[in-house]
C-alpha cells in the first residue's frame, strides 16, 4: 500500500502527453525580457543599462534585501532597454530587455558534461553559492532557496524531502529531469543535505512515473542517506505540507512552516539547479518547461532560457492551434491564464498549457446543494462552501476564525463541486482581504 496524505484530494485525468519526450532545446529567441521580480520578496535592483553588452550568465540585477534574489542574463547580446513588460501574472512589471547575439557564455561557467560528485565547500559556502546563483524554488513558489536552507534560530532540520511528485496534470518537466539527469539530481540532493546538515533525504515520486522511480532508486544506492519513496497518485500530493504528511506522517501546524516539524522540502528542479550552481558555477538562467496541450502538433519538454517569449515556445511546439481558447502558465489546477502570448518565461514557469476552446469555459454556476464534496476534497480540512459564502458577504472576522488563511489554493474544491460554484475565486479574495486586515492590525 503506497503512502499518501490523509485528508482530501482529487484525481484529475493525468494527460501526461509529453512523458516520454526527451528534453530538447528550442531555437534561440531573438529578444528576451528578464523580469526583475521573478521571486518571492523584493524586486532585484538592475545593475546594467541600455547599450551594455552581456554574456550568458552575466549578473544583470542584484538581490535587494534579505528576501530577494540575484538575476542573471540567459543570453548574450545587447541590453536594448529597461522597461515595463506584461508578465504572465497579468500585470506589467520591470524587465531587462536584451537583443540576442550569438550564444557566448561567461568564462567562469563549466560547460563540460562530466559529473562532479565531490566538493570541498562547507555548508555555509554552498549556501553562499546558491545565493549568488540566484536559485529560487523551481516548483513554482520561487522562494529564495538560500533562505530556506538557513533555518531560523531555535529550529533545526531533521530531514530533507525532494519533491519529484509533479501532481499537476499535463506537466512532465520534473519527470524528464529525473530520468535524464538522475545523477545530477542525486548530487544536488547531497549538496542540499550538506547545506542543511541532515543525514537523511527522501525523494517523493508519484507512482505514475515508474521509469523515474526505477532510475532514481538504482542511483540512490550510490549515495548515502538518500532513499526514494513511491507515492499514491493523488492531487495535490506535490504540496509541501501534503508531501511531509505522506512521507513522515507529520502534520505541519496551521500557520507554521515545514521547518517546525524538522522538514525542508525542495523541488527536484531546484536540486538540479543547485548541482549546476555549486559544481559547474552556473547561475540560474534556464529551466525545463513543458509545452503541451491537446491541439498542439508537437508537445515537448524544452530547456528554455529565462525571458524567452511564450510565443516562441509555442511556435517551436508546432504553432498555436486554430481553436485555442486559453493559454495557461503552469498546470491546469493552479496555473494562471495569460492574456497574451507576448509574456516571457520566468524562473517559476514549469509549463505552458494550450487549451482548446471547447474546454476553456466554465459551466453555469448553480446553487450550493450542500453535498459536502468540497469538504471531503479539501486537503487542509477546511469548509470551502462556507468560506465562499463568508467572502461573498464580506464577513471577514468569521472568515479568519474559519481558517481561511490555511487555504493553499490547490483548487480541489472547485474541481469537484457538482454545481460548478466559483469557490476558489471568492476564497482567494477573502484570503487577500483578511491578510490586509491582519497586517493593518499589527501596525
Amino acid at each position: 500500500m503506497l503512502k499518501t496524505f490523509k485528508l482530501g484530494g482529487v484525481h484529475p485525468k493525468e494527460n501526461k502527453l509529453t512523458a516520454d519526450k526527451k528534453i530538447i532545446q528550442p531555437p534561440m529567441p531573438k529578444t528576451v525580457s528578464i523580469a526583475v521580480a521573478q521571486h518571492i520578496g523584493s524586486p532585484a535592483t538592475v545593475i546594467v543599462k541600455k547599450g551594455d553588452q552581456v554574456k550568458v550568465g552575466t549578473h544583470v540585477a542584484n538581490s535587494s534585501g534579505f528576501v530577494s534574489s540575484n538575476i542573471h542574463s540567459s543570453v548574450s547580446g545587447t541590453v536594448v532597454r529597461i522597461d515595463d513588460v506584461m508578465m504572465p501574472s497579468g500585470y506589467k512589471k520591470t524587465a531587462v530587455i536584451i537583443d540576442v547575439e550569438n550564444d557566448e557564455w561567461d568564462e567562469s561557467i563549466d560547460r563540460t558534461p562530466d559529473l562532479i560528485t565531490e566538493t570541498p565547500l562547507d555548508a555555509k559556502a554552498i549556501i553562499q553559492k546558491i545565493l549568488e546563483a540566484g536559485i529560487v524554488g523551481l516548483g513554482g513558489a520561487t522562494f529564495p532557496t538560500n533562505i530556506k536552507l538557513s533555518p531560523p534560530p531555535g529550529m533545526k532540520a531533521e530531514i530533507l524531502l525532494i519533491n519529484g511528485v509533479e501532481c499537476e496534470p499535463y506537466l512532465t518537466a520534473d519527470h524528464r529531469l529525473m530520468i535524464e539527469k538522475g545523477d545530477e539530481v542525486m548530487v544536488g540532493t547531497s549538496l542540499l543535505m550538506k547545506a542543511l546538515n541532515v543525514s537523511k533525504a527522501v525523494i517523493g515520486i508519484e507512482n505514475n512515473k515508474p521509469d523515474a522511480i526505477k532510475n532514481l532508486t538504482q542511483l540512490a544506492r550510490k549515495y548515502k542517506g538518500i532513499e526514494v519513496c513511491a507515492l499514491q497518485v493523488k492531487y495535490p500530493q506535490g504540496g509541501e505540507k501534503q508531501l511531509i504528511n505522506a512521507i513522515t506522517g507529520k502534520e505541519v501546524p496551521s500557520g507554521q512552516l515545514p521547518i517546525s516539524v524538522g522538514a525542508v522540502v525542495d523541488n527536484v528542479g531546484t536540486a538540479f539547479a543547485v548541482y549546476e550552481a555549486v559544481m559547474k558555477n552556473k547561475p540560474l538562467f534556464e529551466r525545463v518547461v513543458t509545452v503541451t496541450g491537446k491541439g498542439l502538433k508537437s508537445p515537448s519538454n524544452f530547456l528554455v532560457r529565462i525571458g524567452t517569449p511564450v510565443k516562441d515556445l509555442i511556435e517551436a511546439a508546432g504553432g498555436l492551434p486554430e481553436s485555442t481558447g486559453k493559454v495557461i502558465n503552469g498546470g491546469p489546477m493552479m496555473g494562471k491564464a495569460i492574456t497574451t502570448l507576448d509574456v516571457p518565461v520566468q524562473k517559476g514557469t514549469s509549463g505552458i498549457l494550450v487549451m482548446p476552446e471547447s474546454e476553456s469555459f466554465r459551466s453555469e454556476e448553480k446553487p450550493c446543494i450542500r453535498c459536502g464534496k468540497c469538504i471531503s476534497a479539501c486537503p487542509m480540512g477546511l469548509e470551502p462552501y462556507l468560506l465562499m459564502t463568508l467572502s461573498a458577504k464580506k464577513i471577514w472576522d468569521r472568515s479568519e476564525t474559519s481558517h481561511i488563511l490555511d487555504c493553499m489554493e490547490c483548487g480541489s474544491c472547485a474541481y469537484t463541486c457538482p454545481s460548478s460554484r466559483p469557490l476558489l475565486d471568492f476564497i482567494r479574495l477573502g484570503k487577500s482581504t483578511v491578510s490586509k486586515i491582519i497586517r493593518s492590525r499589527k501596525q
Binding site: K241, E251, P253, G255, V327, T340, Y415
Partner: protein, 326 residues
C-alpha cells in the same frame, strides 16, 4: 491574431460530477424498488409514480416561471426525485387529487418557498408526505394488499398490525402469527407503500449509490445501526413488549428512510462526524415513536426533526483540520 484568450482564475479543469448526474443516479437506484412494487402491488404503482413525478415537475416549472419569475430548473432532476420519493411514501390507492396536492405542498412549500434547490431545510418529499398524513389520516393509512394475498389478508402493514396489537394490550408472542414471515418482509410480499415493502430492492439501490459515491456509508449505517442496537436493548429487556430488531429494520420506511431520504444532501449534515450524529438521532427517534408513540411508523417524523438540527450540526461540528490548532 483572431482569437482573444479566455482568462479565468484557476482551476481550469473540472471533474465530471454534476447535479443531474447525482439526481439521475438516485433515480436508477430506485428502479429495483419500483420493479418489486409493480410485481407485488400491481400496475397501480407505475400510475402513482408517474402522476407524482409529473405533478412535481409541472408545479416546479409553473411556480418558477410564473410566480417567482426565474429560470425554471427542472432539468437538474431534483423535482423528479421528489416525485418518486413522494410516490414511494403513500399508499398506491391514494386518490389522484391527493397525490397532486401532496406534490404541490412538497415542491411549493417544502422546496421553492425556501428558495429552491439547496435552500430547503426539510426534505421536500417528507414534507409532502407528512402533510398528507396529517390532513388525510384515513386515506393515508388504507393500504392495498399485495397481489399475491389470499382472501382474508386485511391489507394492513406489518407495523400497523404490530401497533394495533400492542395498543390492545397483546404480548408480542400473540401478535407474531398475524405478521407476515421474515422472508416475505425481506422480499416485498407484504402490504405497504412502494418504498416500504421490499427491503432487498432498497439495499441493492443503496449499494449502487455507494458504488457511484453519491452517498457515503455514514448515515445509513448510523440510522440502521442505532435502530438495531436501541431496539435490541429493549427487546433484550422485555421480549414480550418489544419485538426483535430485525423486524424493525426491514419493515416500514426504515430502509427507504435510511438510504434515500435521510441521505438527501441538502438537508443532511456535510461532515462525516455530523452525519453520524444525525443518523443516531434519527435512529433513536424512530424507535421511540414506533415503540412508545401513537403512530405505527415514525421515521418520517424522525428525519424531519433531525433535518431541523442539521444547521446546528453543520455550524458546530467542524471537519478535521490539517495541522489542527484549537
Amino acid at each position: 491574431m483572431s482569437n482573444i484568450f479566455t482568462i479565468s482564475p484557476s482551476p481550469h479543469i473540472k471533474g465530471d460530477e454534476s447535479v443531474p448526474k447525482i439526481m439521475y443516479g438516485v433515480v436508477v437506484a430506485l428502479i429495483p424498488a419500483l420493479i418489486m412494487s409493480t410485481i407485488f402491488l400491481g400496475l397501480n404503482s407505475l400510475k402513482v409514480s408517474f402522476i407524482a413525478v409529473a405533478a412535481c415537475v409541472a408545479f416546479e416549472y409553473l411556480i418558477q416561471t410564473y410566480i417567482l419569475k426565474i429560470k425554471a430548473t427542472i432539468n437538474n432532476g431534483s423535482a423528479i426525485i421528489t416525485g418518486i420519493l413522494l410516490a414511494f411514501n403513500v399508499p398506491i390507492g391514494l386518490p389522484v387529487w391527493m397525490i397532486i396536492l401532496g406534490s404541490l405542498v412538497a415542491i411549493g412549500i417544502g422546496k421553492l418557498s425556501f428558495g429552491g434547490l439547496g435552500q430547503n431545510p426539510f426534505n421536500p418529499a417528507l414534507v409532502g408526505r407528512v402533510f398528507l398524513l396529517i390532513s388525510f389520516p384515513v386515506q393515508m393509512t388504507t393500504w392495498t394488499a399485495p397481489v399475491t394475498a389470499i382472501d382474508s389478508f386485511t391489507g394492513a402493514t406489518p407495523l400497523g398490525i404490530l401497533k394495533e396489537g400492542v395498543k390492545s394490550g397483546k404480548a408480542i408472542s400473540e401478535i407474531t402469527h398475524q405478521l407476515p414471515g421474515y422472508f416475505d418482509m425481506f422480499w416485498g410480499n407484504i402490504s405497504g407503500s412502494m418504498g416500504e415493502i421490499s427491503a432487498i430492492a432498497l439495499i441493492m439501490g443503496g449499494l449502487y449509490l455507494l458504488w457511484k459515491r453519491i452517498i457515503t456509508w455514514h448515515i445509513p449505517v448510523a440510522v440502521l445501526g442505532t435502530m438495531a442496537i436501541f431496539q435490541g436493548i429493549l427487546w433484550g429487556i422485555n421480549p414480550e413488549k418489544f419485538i426483535d430488531p430485525v423486524f424493525h429494520l426491514i419493515t416500514g420506511g426504515a430502509m427507504l428512510g435510511a438510504i434515500f431520504m435521510a441521505t438527501d444532501m441538502v438537508t443532511s449534515p456535510m461532515t462525516p462526524k455530523g452525519q453520524l450524529i444525525f443518523g443516531i438521532g434519527i435512529g433513536i427517534l424512530t424507535i421511540c415513536i414506533r415503540d412508545f408513540g401513537a403512530y405505527p411508523e415514525g421515521i418520517s417524523f424522525a428525519i424531519l426533526i433531525m433535518n431541523g438540527f442539521t444547521p446546528l450540526i453543520n455550524a458546530r461540528i467542524k471537519p478535521k483540520q490539517f495541522g489542527g490548532s484549537k
